[in-house]
């Protein structure tokens, strides 16, 4: 029997073509291939997700929803989504319906400029605004389990979608302030975020490999200290590390910084909840 018939050959070529097309379609996601920054004044030549710098074991833990410790918050958030609360006896789903549809993309857009308070807000703030305005319920404490759960749930609806932050228009001023914060030396150790995350990503700081300090995986599970933290909490851990005063929850400084971080990670896929060493 002849193996290489014209028909077989055509089939093989079609297969190869499909593979090639597939490879061309899959854009780099900062995990094994870096994302190229679109902005000309971007400080990084290559944008890498924190995922890229983790061990095989940690990556596998993130990739497997059953093994990812932060998924307990996702499950809790799923319950809150349809739980009625407040004076108007509504739940999130009363207004938004199926989260998989209505919340897809939400995790890629924040922080967003919010005209009423004239500042940037993140997903946590947005959830609290909905509670206050539409549900007649008390806003949750920033740092509460409830808010952590629901923000993990909402952000994960954008899993794999690219971060496309708002930095122009009314956001520009806040973005600039965030950038200044990021590049300013501070704390008793007199170091800026840039010193660890722009200059030395991939290098060891004692036992830990430094990443680019990207925000696309947050809230994320940190193996040390063994809990799921919001982006604000992670930033404060870094500030405490250099012996700087931590930022108040929900403060403008923190939101400005989150705005800058989102721009810095433009084009990275949302990974919430990520697992990091």
């Amino acid at each position: 029997m002849k193996i290489i018939t014209p028909r077989n050959c055509r089939l093989a070529m079609m297969l190869a073509g499909m593979l090639l097309a597939g490879a061309a379609v899959a854009e780099p996601d900062g995990k094994s291939e870096p994302v190229a920054p679109k902005a000309k004044d971007h400080p990084l030549k290559e944008i890498w997700s924190g995922y890229h710098f983790q061990s095989e074991e940690t990556r596998a833990q993130q990739d497997d929803a059953d093994a990812n410790p932060a998924m307990e918050h996702y499950k809790a958030g799923e319950k809150f989504w349809s739980k009625v609360a407040g004076k108007s006896k509504k739940s999130c789903s009363s207004c938004h319906g199926d989260a998989a549809k209505s919340m897809r993309g939400a995790g890629t857009r924040f922080p967003l400029y919010y005209p009423i308070s004239k500042r940037m807000i993140n997903v946590e703030d947005r959830i609290n605004l909905c509670r206050e305005k539409f549900m007649g319920a008390k806003p949750w404490d920033l740092g509460s389990k409830e808010l952590l759960a629901l923000s993990v749930f909402v952000k994960r609806q954008s899993l794999g979608a690219r971060v496309t932050p708002q930095t122009s228009g009314p956001a520009a001023n806040f973005f600039d302030k965030g950038k200044t914060f990021y590049t300013t030396r501070r704390g008793q150790l007199d170091m800026a975020c840039t010193h660890c995350h722009d200059k030395y990503a991939g290098k060891k700081l004692r036992g830990l490999t430094l990443t680019q300090g990207q925000s696309n995986g947050y809230p994320a599970y940190r193996k040390t200290p063994g809990k799921t933290v919001s982006l604000g909490q992670q930033i404060n851990a870094c500030l405490i590390r250099v012996r700087a005063a931590p930022l108040a929850a929900g403060s403008e400084d923190l939101l400005n910084l989150e705005t800058y971080l989102a721009w810095r990670g433009q084009g990275l896929p949302v990974e919430t909840p990520a697992v990091r060493e």
């Binding site: 404490d141 920033l142 740092g143 509460s144 300013t184 030396r185 501070r186 704390g187 008793q188 150790l189 007199d190 170091m191 010193h195 660890c196 200059k199 030395y200 290098k203 060891k204 700081l205 004692r206 036992g207 830990l208 940190r222 040390t224 200290p225 809990k227 933290v229 919001s230 604000g232 909490q233 404060n236 851990a237 500030l239 405490i240 590390r241 250099v242 012996r243 700087a244 005063a245 931590p246 930022l247 108040a248 929850a249 929900g250």
Partner: protein
């Protein structure tokens, strides 16, 4: 936690993350602000001047303390993540034998070396004591063009956002700087 009570320098990543209080929930930020990262006692403004030197590089020729530096205590300050924390960024091959694998604490203290700064293996031969004194006390003065990522260990940080418990305090005392230099001079 004991090391949190120690006065200190670069708090190594692992140590800070492991430390209670490093990741307090955000609503407790008032508490976080009050938490002591720097213990009381080491008050006072540190004044030193970069002196004209006989060599090519800027230096502080005059010792900062009356008592001569002690190399052994210097190594302790270097390895202690709550004080020097130098190993967070630098390697020192000479001390690896101290990282006894059978003792996890020793192994962690002496065996984990960072890659941010270059290895310190031969600095004792390449720099004078005066040059090392300035590098440790205020590396931005020692390497003015480098935007150096190394903390200034004996300059009272006049920077932004210093944690309230650390305001007005240097990372290492004058005596500790002398001890560290005594150890660095043994690296040839």
């Amino acid at each position: 936690m004991k090391f949190m009570d120690r006065y200190g320098a670069l708090v190594c990543a692992v140590a800070v993350f492991a430390a209670a209080g490093a990741l307090l929930p955000l609503h407790a930020d008032a508490q976080q602000k009050k938490a002591r990262l720097c213990p009381p006692g080491r008050v006072g403004v540190v004044i030193f001047k970069t002196q004209k030197t006989t060599g090519l590089r800027p230096a502080i020729e005059k010792p900062l303390s009356k008592k001569a530096g002690d190399a052994e205590r210097g190594l302790e300050a270097i390895a202690d993540t709550g004080r020097g924390g130098c190993l967070s960024c630098h390697q020192i091959a000479k001390i690896l034998p101290k990282a006894d694998e059978s003792d996890p604490e020793q192994a962690k203290k002496y065996g984990q070396h960072g890659e941010i700064g270059s290895p310190l293996n031969s600095v004792g031969g390449r720099f004078t004591a005066g040059e090392l004194r300035l590098i440790v006390a205020d590396p931005q003065q020692a390497f003015p063009d480098a935007d150096i990522a190394m903390p200034a260990y004996h300059r009272v940080a006049d920077t932004v956002g210093v944690h309230p418990s650390c305001k007005g305090r240097p990372i290492l005392s004058a005596q500790e700087v002398e001890d560290v230099i005594a150890f660095l001079k043994t690296l040839k």
